[in-house]
């Protein structure tokens, strides 16, 4: 697992959006092979302003507005990586990435393998994902199940401002293609994190216990982390002392941290926005069952988005896992046969 040392930044990133921007700026400044590309990433700075100022600072050859074509963007990035560049691709919105899936599945994920290691592809694919922003249809998908089901892809997702910086630096530094899922409803979340303070950031594949507890473990990632933290606070009133594990990386999956936590608490709930059937929670629950069977006091439960197409904005609050649904599920862990 790689650990990227954080270079002290001159300005303090106040939001996740700024931390991501800072990560790309620092990577581009340190390594001339890092190229940012995508639709609207140049003059506009991206529709979420994540690439703000990069074209101005590094020129249009380093931060390139491409034609509007996701397969072309990712396909061109493959060729650029074949020639030794490290492309950082923006997919604008989760559901806009689907036209690029053939490039992703058939080439990006497989190039290292099919060339027996002769041609790794160090491409970072930034995908703003998830709901909770009132976006219209096709702007709020949680597509992580597709990515984690594809061997060859690394899949990470930050939930904090600090991790946004650290994980993006680690992803750009990775010699493998990384799907970097950005929880778009956390773009404007603020942090008192100061880039001067921490010496290191997480390596890819390292989960973190965000809150220690003894009654049960909530396992989550990305946009659901703040919801789980809030639920854990609320659960204290009901006598539950919840531990919260932030996966940060879906592939590789830090099984050891999860297993150690569940063996301590004896109960587990997996929480994510994407649908439950065939979702990451199904895999995590299965692994916990395999490895913690004799430690479990109750079945592993899941709180996920419903198995429906992402709903319209006025209905999304019913779909997304919220504090109450998490607490109701935790209550079901009081397993009495």
């Amino acid at each position: 697992m790689t650990t990227v040392a954080v270079k002290p930044a001159t300005t303090k990133p106040a939001t996740m959006a700024q931390a991501l921007n800072r990560a790309m700026r620092d990577a581009m400044a340190e390594d001339p092979t890092v190229h940012v590309m995508g639709e609207d990433v140049g003059a506009l700075g991206g529709v979420f302003r994540i690439t703000d100022g990069l074209a101005k600072e590094f020129g249009e050859d380093r931060c390139t507005d491409t034609p509007l074509a996701e397969a072309g963007i990712l396909g061109a990035a493959v060729g650029m990586a074949m020639y030794g560049l490290r492309p950082v691709v923006e997919m604008q919105f989760d559901a806009f990435a689907y036209p690029a899936f053939e490039q992703l599945i058939s080439h990006v994920a497989k190039m290292r393998n099919r060339t027996r290691g002769a041609m790794p592809l160090p491409i970072t694919i930034r995908v703003p994902y998830g709901g909770g922003i009132g976006g219209v249809e096709h702007h709020c998908d949680s597509s992580e199940a597709y990515y984690v089901a594809t061997p060859g892809l690394t899949v990470v997702t930050p939930a904090t401002v600090e991790d946004a910086y650290g994980l993006l630096r680690a992803s750009i530094a990775s010699d493998d293609p990384v799907i970097f899922l950005e929880p778009k409803r956390l773009y404007w979340s603020k942090s008192d994190w100061s880039p001067e303070a921490p010496a290191a950031v997480p390596g890819i594949g390292e989960a973190l216990v965000r809150r220690t507890g003894t009654s049960a473990t909530l396992i989550t990632y990305g946009p659901s982390l703040p919801v789980c933290m809030e639920a854990a606070e609320a659960a204290r009133e009901e006598g539950w002392d919840l531990e919260v594990v932030d996966l940060r990386s879906l592939v590789p999956f830090d099984e050891e941290t999860v297993v150690a936590s569940v063996r301590r608490t004896g109960r587990a709930v997996v929480v994510h926005e994407s649908g439950g059937f065939g979702g990451p929670g199904a895999e995590i629950a299965a692994r916990i069952t395999e490895r913690c069977f004799h430690h479990l006091e109750a079945p592993v439960l899941r709180v996920t988005g419903f198995d429906i197409p992402y709903p319209p904005p006025m209905l999304e609050k019913y779909h997304l896992p919220g504090v109450d649904r998490i607490l109701d599920t935790v209550a079901r862990l009081q397993w009495e046969n």
Binding site: G75, M82, G152
Partner: protein
Amino acid sequence: MTVQELPGAGASHRSTPPPAWRPRTDAAPLLPDPEPYRVLGTPAADRLDPELMRRCYAELVRGRRYNAQATALTRQGRLAVYPSTVGQEACEIAAAMVLEEQDWLFPSYRDTLAAVARGLDPVQALTLLRGDWHTGYDPREHRIAPLSTPLATQLPHAVGLAHAARLRGDDVVALAMVGDGGTSEGDFHEAMNFAAVWQAPVVFLVQNNGFAISVPLAKQTAAPTLAHKAVGYGMPGRLVDGNDIAAMHEVLSEAVRRARSGGGPTMIEAVTYRIEAHTNADDATRYRGDAEVEAWKAHDPIDLLERELTARGLLDEAGIKAAKDAAEAMAAALRDGMNAEPVIDPMDLFENVYAQQTGRLREQAAMLRAELDAAEQEEGDGS
């Protein structure tokens, strides 16, 4: 309310052009000639370079022999499948010949012959089709991208690589190959568009061999020719006789020169014909008649060149025999290479999925290791 009655509708409104609009370019120079460009059998053949044409001849004969040998290996079960390029050798050979060492070739699954003509070991070129690994060579060493099975998906790679090379100030041209069916894919469109917008040093070679498996060109596209598609992207489209290696060499060379000098991409449609079936799994009699195949056989790329060169006294019996002997030697080496059982280590399955193996893969590798050890033990006990 009709359109004419709508407020603002009327002749004066319609005659006012939008302020900044104008066509970006004159389309005429980009349009292909109506007839495929030919050299052999025309007055243009007077300027043939004898040495170059003798090399072309030897390569064509070798290419035909390679096709025959690979097809025979399929029948012997040595290859899972082989998509033949009999009849298309001039396209394959010319594509490889016009590239400099630092240039890159982006072949499709049918273009093993182009890879071999570029200098790739024939056995290495066939690992995909033999089945012992997907890509049997280091793409960087040979500057040949892995043979791409998904159609047209390698074209954006060619654009990206050529673009990256130009950003780095390197003199590199990428030549990407695709079939007529592949031009219907979205990636063909996106690659052409990116290449033209970026003015990338890329040459797109479309081999129109008449059929996408069984579907004829008329059911593939309504365009006048495939070369016409280039105009819509703002790059020149060239129509050329794909069985005429002198014409292919000339048109491809010109496109490579243009790309190298910063002139941007070119799309070339080579009109040719797939004499054999799509693969050994295909029954071509279901979708085309013998008469058509025979007519194309009369326009064979090797015969065309041989007739021209012998008529001009540039090739004699000794030259023909020398080409055949060299081709036989290649075929014998290919047979030997393919008859040697490939060394396969099942544990390779878990290598090169990621730079660092994940815990999950380590577990699965241990499971297979145990199964292999148990099988070996059993074999040992049994003997």
